[in-house]
């Protein structure tokens, strides 16, 4: 008798598994909802140099660039792809920033070169040049998990900030611009 009861209890417990699973899931969602501040770069990569790489550029596929070539000036490293609808929203503002003289280097992320080139033709090109990361290896090293993402890198090639998501006037004025200007001042001194 008791064994039967025990068995019954066990199978009853099993029925709570979906509920437990769901509740865990909701906690995750809750955390995600208020993670805005955590969406900045994890401390592991912040203040680290841009990872090593040697990749071709978009418009001159025969030439390669490395992390060393980027040094010397403060710049924004913008991760994008023509497959990414949000990038399309972001793009016009990048063009505006580039016209103001902000140095932007693109990372064409997991994209077909033809698509990326066509995109730049169509929507204007704010980038000094584009690093082509077709397999997304540099992306993984950078800790990219989607596009668009924008890294703020100082003149020594050290990552100082990372913004996940679209750079719009608000993000630029409130977050990126002060940091960018401070780094530039440091660069001059």
């Amino acid at each position: 008798m008791s064994r039967v009861e025990e068995k019954g209890k066990k199978s009853r417990l099993k029925l709570f598994v979906p509920l437990a699973f769901f509740m865990t899931f909701c906690i995750l969602l809750y955390v995600g909802l208020f993670m805005e501040s955590k969406k900045e770069l994890p401390s592991a990569l912040l203040n680290d140099p841009v990872p090593e790489f040697s990749l071709p550029t978009l418009k001159k596929p025969t030439e390669t660039v490395t992390q060393a070539d980027l040094k010397g000036q403060v710049y924004l490293l913008n991760v994008w792809g023509s497959w990414c609808p949000a990038c399309k929203v972001e793009h016009p503002y990048l063009v505006k920033l580039a016209k103001k003289g902000v140095r932007i280097i693109g990372l064409s992320y997991k994209d077909e070169d033809a698509d990326a080139l066509r995109w730049l033709q169509r929507l204007d090109d704010p980038y000094e040049f584009n690093i082509v990361d077709k397999e997304g290896r540099l992306g993984v090293n950078l800790g990219v998990y989607g596009a668009p993402e924008t890294f703020l890198v100082d003149k020594n090639g050290i990552i100082r900030y990372k913004h996940v998501g679209i750079v719009d006037p608000r993000v630029w004025v409130e977050i990126l611009k002060p940091k960018y200007e401070r780094l530039q001042k440091d660069a001059i001194q």
Binding site: L29, C84, R118, R122
Partner: protein
């Protein structure tokens, strides 16, 4: 006045929904018949007031009432009227209102047909639907009022509808999708009502099944439309991007597909009862979760949607309440509805179980892929990118296994089958598929591609299995025609949907594996060869649209020196937003699409042009159409209406035939 009327109607609908979620439920536990039947009129009232509110919003759009904030940000006086109408659901607030309208619409249909159900069941179903809509109505009232005014300073003209949404496909895509999402709310309500009553018999599955199938059909059509829209409107030539929003619609589809299969077992064999209930709950939860994902801003920072943690929090709380409560109910009540029937390892039941496991696993895969970045981030493990590579490596093999299991499952009988029978039935089919797949792989295209060969082999496998099964089922009839006539609509529906899977496979494999593409600079008069076609660029002309200016390229296409067609790919600039848009020129064909998009002017009359040849790409959506039609055909089966006719017969006797005609007419509907 009009927007206020809309808001007022919405508030009234909320009050009625509140009553609907309480009164019939209490009635069902206390045995008060009038309380129970009150649910029906409450559902009707709720529907009418929501419809009124929605009409007010439509009216505001059609009359360019830019004092309404939502209208001002989503419409413009230059917008063509048809798009003014569809702009109603072009943004968050309006699409939410459309969602609610769909929900109350379903509630209304359930109410109309609920007199065929046992009164307690009908009352509980309506109550649960009432609770679902209370949540959404409060959501819209508290966080996303579409009637908010911009007074005292209304804008002169609106901000215009996003050009991407100014398109005919967009007119029907969201309503279709919502019909699907929200339709699963009915399946969910049936499941909860069954748990409340602690009773789930085959009659219950016969009631619940058509609702679920119809919802599934709409969702199938909705997803197909979305993919079709992405194909021709986004101008990239792709048809699925594994975007979180797409995933949000795919997940309920996968678990809904599992649900309709599991329901079949529950109806025919009285098995998988608690599993069916769990799937019904899960499917609707995933629909809710999809809403959460798109509107909350959880993934916003990565993708372009209006971010609002307040809205997110509201939906999350709602999700916890609805799903948490139903899963708790499930945990306590499921033992009451356990079945004790057994089946052997080799039987159709087992194969449907395999189908369910595969579908649920692929659903979990998609869920994981969608949520993974968030999960990793929340656990502070750094950040990882998940994209099409992840989804394709995991999802495609599972889809293939599913197709393989489909062939076996179809051949097996319920309860018990034998290995020897299976081997005897399937050996030639198997051989033919292997040979066919390999032969195809070598003959088509430039080189042997294993995944495409495998896919085509599976297509042959599924199609032959369908034919073989139909042959088996008609073999004993006097002639083929008589045999085919005897088969039921539900059988034909099933096979049509399965055939749709094969057709979609063809489209996916061929367009992925054998598309041709060229990006090229063209001067007027230039001719470029691609595959067996020659494309001649005849220059560009200017077009003036209602709210945009466009350059249209003129591209004549020849095959064997004969003109096939002329395409006019456009590059538009929408006046208000200044947003450039590409309208691809597409010549659709049964076996191939010719797809041309116009790039930038490169000076001196030359343009960047992109040319595509996409073999069999239309099969993707054709297959989806077969699936949806198959579902509808299955629902038309008489057995879902037998009970109703019997009842109608009894009633007509008591009423001395007076209402017999009416009842029969109702039965046909």
């Amino acid at each position: 006045m009009n927007p206020e009327l809309g808001l007022f109607a919405l508030i009234l609908a909320t009050c009625l929904a509140l009553l609907q979620s309480v009164v019939p439920l209490v009635g069902s536990y206390t045995g008060r018949l009038r309380w129970m039947s009150a649910g029906r009129s409450l559902a009707t009232g709720q529907f009418i007031f929501t419809l009124l509110s929605f009409s007010c919003l439509v009216y505001a759009f059609l009359t360019d009432d830019f004092s309404v904030k939502y209208v001002a940000s989503n419409s413009n006086s230059l917008l063509p009227s048809i798009y003014k109408f569809t702009a109603t659901w072009g943004g968050h607030e309006g699409s939410l209102l459309l969602w609610i309208l769909t929900l109350t619409g379903w509630g209304q249909v359930v109410a109309l047909r609920s007199d065929k159900l046992p009164p307690e069941l009908g009352a509980r179903v309506l109550s649960v639907l009432g609770m679902v809509s209370v949540g959404f109505l409060l959501f819209i009232l508290v966080t996303s009022n579409p009637f908010e005014r911009l007074l005292p300073f209304p804008v002169q003209d609106g901000n215009d509808l996003n050009p991407l949404l100014q398109d005919l496909g967009m007119i029907i895509h969201p309503p279709m999708l919502y019909m699907g999402y929200v339709g699963f709310a009915v399946a969910f309500a049936f499941a909860i009502a069954a748990l409340m009553g602690g009773q789930l018999d085959s009659a219950w599955s016969r009631w619940a099944r058509p609702w679920t199938t119809v919802a599934w059909c709409f969702l199938t059509a909705g997803i197909a439309l979305g993919s079709w829209w992405a194909y021709y409107e986004l101008g990239w030539g792709g048809w699925w991007f594994w975007d979180p929003v797409e995933n949000a619609s795919l997940m309920p589809w996968l678990s809904g597909t599992a649900l309709i299969h599991s329901l079949a077992v529950t109806e025919k064999r009285g098995l998988f009862k608690s599993w069916t209930l769990l799937l019904a709950i899960a499917t609707f939860s995933l629909s809710l979760f999809g809403t959460f994902l798109v509107r909350s801003g959880v993934l916003t920072s990565v993708h372009a949607f209006a971010s609002d943690p307040e809205r997110g929090l509201f939906i999350l709380a709602y999700l916890v309440l609805v799903v948490g409560a139903s899963l708790t109910l499930f945990a306590f009540k499921a033992p009451e509805i356990r079945s004790k029937i057994t089946f052997s390892l080799l039987s159709r039941e087992t194969l449907i179980l395999v189908n369910n496991v595969l579908l649920v696993t692929s659903c979990a895969t998609v869920l994981l892929g969608t949520m993974f970045p968030l999960l990793v981030d929340a656990l502070d493990l750094g950040m990882i990118s998940v994209g099409p590579p992840y989804f394709n490596t995991l999802f495609v093999p599972m889809a293939m296994m599913l197709a393989f299991a489909l062939g076996i499952g179809m051949m097996l009988n319920w309860k018990k089958g034998t290995v020897s029978w299976l081997v005897q039935q399937l050996r030639w089919i198997f051989l033919a598929s292997v040979i066919g797949g390999v032969a195809f792989g070598f003959m088509y295209g430039d080189k042997f591609v294993i995944s495409e060969a495998l896919a085509i082999g599976l297509v042959i496998w599924v199609v032959l299995a369908i034919l073989k099964d139909m042959y088996n089922k008609t073999r004993n009839a006097s002639n083929l025609f008589a045999g085919l006539k005897k088969l039921k609509p539900s059988y034909y529906g099933m096979q049509l949907a399965h055939f749709g899977i094969a057709v979609t496979f063809v489209g996916a494999a061929m367009s992925t594996g054998y598309s041709l593409q060229k990006d090229i600079r063209m001067n007027p008069g230039d001719t470029v060869e691609l595959g067996e076609y020659a494309f001649r660029f005849d220059g560009v002309k200017e077009i003036q649209g209602a709210n945009y200016m466009a350059n249209a390229g003129i591209i004549s296409i020849f095959k064997d020196q004969k003109k096939v067609t002329v395409l006019y790919p456009e590059k538009r600039v929408y006046k208000v937003k200044g947003m450039p848009m590409t309208e691809a020129g597409i010549d659709g064909g049964f076996t191939r699409d010719l797809y041309v998009a116009l790039g930038e002017p490169l000076g001196e009359g030359s343009w960047a042009v992109r040319l595509h040849i996409k073999p069999f790409v239309r099969f993707l959506w054709l297959g989806a159409m077969f699936m949806a039609l198959g579902g509808l055909l299955a629902v038309s089966d008489k057995r879902y209406r037998v009970r109703l006719k019997k009842k109608a017969g009894i009633r007509s006797k008591t009423a001395k035939g007076k209402i017999a005609g009416k009842a029969v007419a109702g039965g046909r509907a």
